[in-house]
Amino acid sequence: MHNKTLAEIARDLEAKNYSSVEVTQHFLDRIKNLDAKFNSFITVTADHALAQAQAADAARAEGKAGPLTGVPIAQKDIFCTQGIKTSCGSKMLDNFISPYDATVVKKFNNAGCVMLGKTNMDEFAMGSSNENSFYGPVVNPWQENTVPGGSSGGSAAAVAARLTPGATGTDTGGSIRQPAALCGITGLKPTYGRVSRYGMVAFASSLDQGGPMTQTAEDAALMLNVMAGFDERDSTSLDVDTPDFTATLNKDLKGMTIGLPKEFFDERLSPEMAKQIDAVKNELTKLGINFKEISLQATALSIPAYYIIAPAECSSNLSRFDGVRFGHRCENPKSLKDLYERSRAEGFGTEVKRRIMIGTYALSAGYYDAYYLKALKIRRLIHNDFENAFTEVDAILGPTTPTPAFKIGEKSDDPISLYLSDIYTTAVNLAGLPGISIPCGQINNLPVGCQLIGPRLQEARLLNIAHQLQQHTDWHKQAPQIEAN
């Protein structure tokens, strides 16, 4: 049952092959039996899930079921869930029970979905390996001692290990696409503003975007149908029509042109990875797609620009964690300064502190122009590069990451080399564009992914290409061997 896709489970529930309670219990059992190994969940909400499943079954009996009623999913622990711990992977929020639901959570509740639990993540979504969680690292289900990627590593590992048919993630610089690639699943970062950020704990507000993480593009479309939409509580959410993302999955790709940015295929790309992308190209060519070399010159600067803008925003966003109203508070503060200093020193982990310091520095008087303003200028150039490219091509193809998953601990003393693993993903956030990572084979028995980037609001096009590819290949069907011993 657990190898079924979200779409298949939805169809089975519709056909009453089994109930929501049954499928929910099945996944809860799997989590119970297997997740000790992967650590992909921070909180498992079994009672809550079964109550939701019962309600879903009752709704179905009354003929009130929607497309995803009764389907289990998991929420990244960055989305606020009313009455349920929302830790954001941090000691700072280990004691935080959110009094409200994020818009995304509300939408899944309204759609009748069942929440199995809250998935592990890098603390405050800062990281590319899921080693920065207060709750311990997540293990990649494909290989012990290997990272699942981050920051949505728990969601990626849980979907790969078939502990949930789908999960939400958030992507600030690649945090959906990179772990999706490293765990062999499909992950979509929508256009900035497509999915409401209300109730999503902020890391870098101008870059953060929630999206689905699933086995297939079809599943991603189904989840995005629930997640997307204008939210008047989020001033940056886009007041545009939300299409049915499943409606165009089977459109013919013939005559479409995909751009290959030469900057993504230079000497930094390993021959192994290049081979995998070539394989994708061949498959897409068979489907009638033309390819064209393009240039995205400014993307070379995306890492430095990203590592100014994201820390700058995070340094401000994380100021509210001060030990005064909620979250971790130090014992017996002697003064206000002591309260702030110890609460924050104890509550935040190393990577979070590092980024707060970088960001605080970048915004300081005398440095603002040299760092922050310059980074914004680069951001504009990157945006323009993409805009120009999309006058010639319908989408852009490249690798999602330079390499497959690395070993746990391998890069934890070398933040710069870890930051560089975001090289293909951050530009997409800086430009606010949609991007999807889909599995495209393996290197040394570890999955890798390719990334499709689309023009603003063209998620449907990306899902269409990805789905067609998945109809003709089986990379996405490969799953790690993890059966209970």
Binding site: F79, C80, T86, C88, L93, F96, S98, P99, Y100, A102, R197, Y198, G199, M200, V201, A202, A204, S205, S206, E232, R233, D234, S235, T236, A312, E313, S315, S316, L318, S319, R320, F321, D322, V324, R325, F326, L336, Y340, T360, L363, S364, A365, Y368, Y372
Partner: protein
């Protein structure tokens, strides 16, 4: 050496919107602590601000009223600093691109001269909460009811030269924000507060001296005292060979002194940057035109109308428009005696303000409805009562005992204008005082007053004074 002060004022005016600037919470003053707050106001993880367009509307209204440039695009920025009553660790404000640009305010000085004071800018921001340091046994309480209340920070050019000018500017501004209904102006409740930037320079020198900023002056009197203290202090420091340091100072109302709060070195680096949670505010020409067309009559326009159309003296008009509630009161009262503006105004400014003063009330707490003052004047005009009796009626009204007509009726105060009746009364008086009559007739003119007094007394003040005089004069001579 002769010194000159250079003063610039920053005013924080609380905008009187029903809900907060970035959330739907109520903005009423004086509610129980932390009862007017929501997830957004307390800065819970994940919450986002949504701009209250009513606050934008009020800011634009202000800009239009001071003839300012309204920026078609303005940007909210985060001002980052840690304080327990600042829930997010940053205040959402406007920095590089404020909504209101350069404008001006014309003020009238005590000697009647007019001066134009430049307004550099006015920007929208959210207020912080309040820290309560008493009643918590060594701990501090935080009340976040005020957190997120919209403020308009209005920054003047350093065009002001004396404490008196500063007060005149503030009073003009205070009056204006109430005229255009963007702020209730309640200074005790902190709805209108002021920081004063003060420096001194030798008269004739163009370069500004080093300035200090004195914070949170919440009455006109404190502003005047604090500025005067600061001017004297700075002159004294410089004359005795010292230098003024750029610093923030606090005014102590008990000692009338300012004290250093923090030096420039200790000042926060606020690390302003555009708030990524909010889009730039765009204002269209059509919006500005619409607001302009619905702008209420401004104080200067009202004053001109009072002089031109109602023929009030300039002084009277100035006094009336200095307070919107007073001007409104006057205009309501005027309806009952539309041809007699100056007389109505005299009653309002003279008797009424005097009585209110004595009772420590302001015009909004006036026990006499404005219509009744108008009626009172109308009864003088139509000779129902004399001015003197009107004063009695006024006092009775002030004590809340009814309308002028009810009081006149109940107390039998209606003026006697029947000539026969007055003649009869005069005849009686004359016969009662034969000696005085003889003296008067032999040339003691002064005794005329004595007879007027006696006759008025006999009529209980109700005899029409003019008629009485006329009749007495005739009868005494015969």
């Amino acid at each position: 050496m002769e010194w000159e002060a250079v003063i610039g004022l920053e005013v924080h005016a609380q905008l009187n919107t029903k809900s907060k600037i970035f959330s739907g919470s109520a903005t009423n003053y004086g509610a129980m602590p932390n009862t007017q707050i929501c997830d957004i106001d307390i800065g819970l993880p994940g919450v986002l601000p949504v701009l209250n367009m009513e606050a934008v509307h009020k800011a634009i209204t202000f800009g239009v009223a001071i003839g300012a440039q309204i920026n078609d695009q303005s940007v909210f920025a985060r001002k980052n600093y840690f304080y327990p009553d600042l829930p997010k660790g940053y205040q959402i404000s406007q920095f590089e691109l404020p909504i209101v640009g350069v404008g001006h305010l014309d003020i009238t000085l005590e000697d009647g001269r007019s001066r134009r004071i430049g307004v550099t800018r006015a920007h929208l921001e959210e207020d912080a909460g309040k820290s309560l340091h008493e009643d918590f046994q060594g701990l501090s309480g935080i009340d976040l009811n005020r957190a997120g209340i919209p403020l308009l920070e209005i920054v003047s050019e350093p065009d002001i030269r004396t404490a008196k000018e500063a007060v005149a500017y503030l009073k003009t501004l205070h009056n204006l924000v109430r005229y255009i209904n963007i702020c209730d102006g309640n200074m005790q409740e902190g709805s209108f507060r002021c920081d004063a930037n003060v420096s001194v320079r030798p008269k004739g020198q163009e370069k500004f001296g080093t300035r200090t900023e004195t914070k949170n002056l919440n009455s006109f009197r404190f502003v005047e005292r604090a500025i005067n203290y600061e001017i004297e202090r700075q002159i004294e420091v410089i004359e005795s060979g010292g230098v003024i340091m750029q610093e923030t100072r606090l005014f102590n109302a008990d000692t009338n002194e300012t004290k250093m709060m923090r030096s420039k070195e200790d000042a926060n680096d606020y690390r302003y940057f555009p708030d990524p949670d909010l889009l730039p505010v765009r204002v269209t020409a059509e919006q500005i035109r619409q607001i302009k067309s619905t702008l209420p009559e401004l104080p200067a326009e009202k004053q001109q109308r009072f002089v031109d159309d109602l023929h009030l003296s300039t002084d009277t008009a100035t006094t009336l428009v200095s307070n919107k509630a007073l001007a409104d009161y006057f205009e309501t009262g005027l309806k009952a005696a539309p041809e007699h503006g100056q007389l109505v105004a005299n009653w309002v400014i003279g008797e009424l303000l005097g009585a209110l003063n004595k009772a420590s009330l302001d015009i909004t707490q006036c026990p006499i409805p404005a219509e009744h003052i108008g009626t009172l004047v109308a009864r003088i005009i139509d000779k129902t009562i004399s001015t003197k009796i009107a004063k009695t009626v006024f006092e009775t009204m002030f004590n809340g005992e009814g309308t002028p007509d009810e009081i006149i009726e109940a107390k039998g105060l209606k003026q006697v204008t029947d000539t026969a009746e007055i003649e009869k009364m005069v005849d009686e008086i004359i016969t009662q005082f034969p000696e005085q009559l003889a003296d008067y007739r032999s040339g003691k003119d002064k005794l005329f007053g004595f007879f007027v007094g006696q006759a008025m007394k006999a009529s209980k003040g109700k005899a029409n004074p003019a008629q009485l005089n006329e009749i007495l004069k005739t009868k005494l001579q015969n």
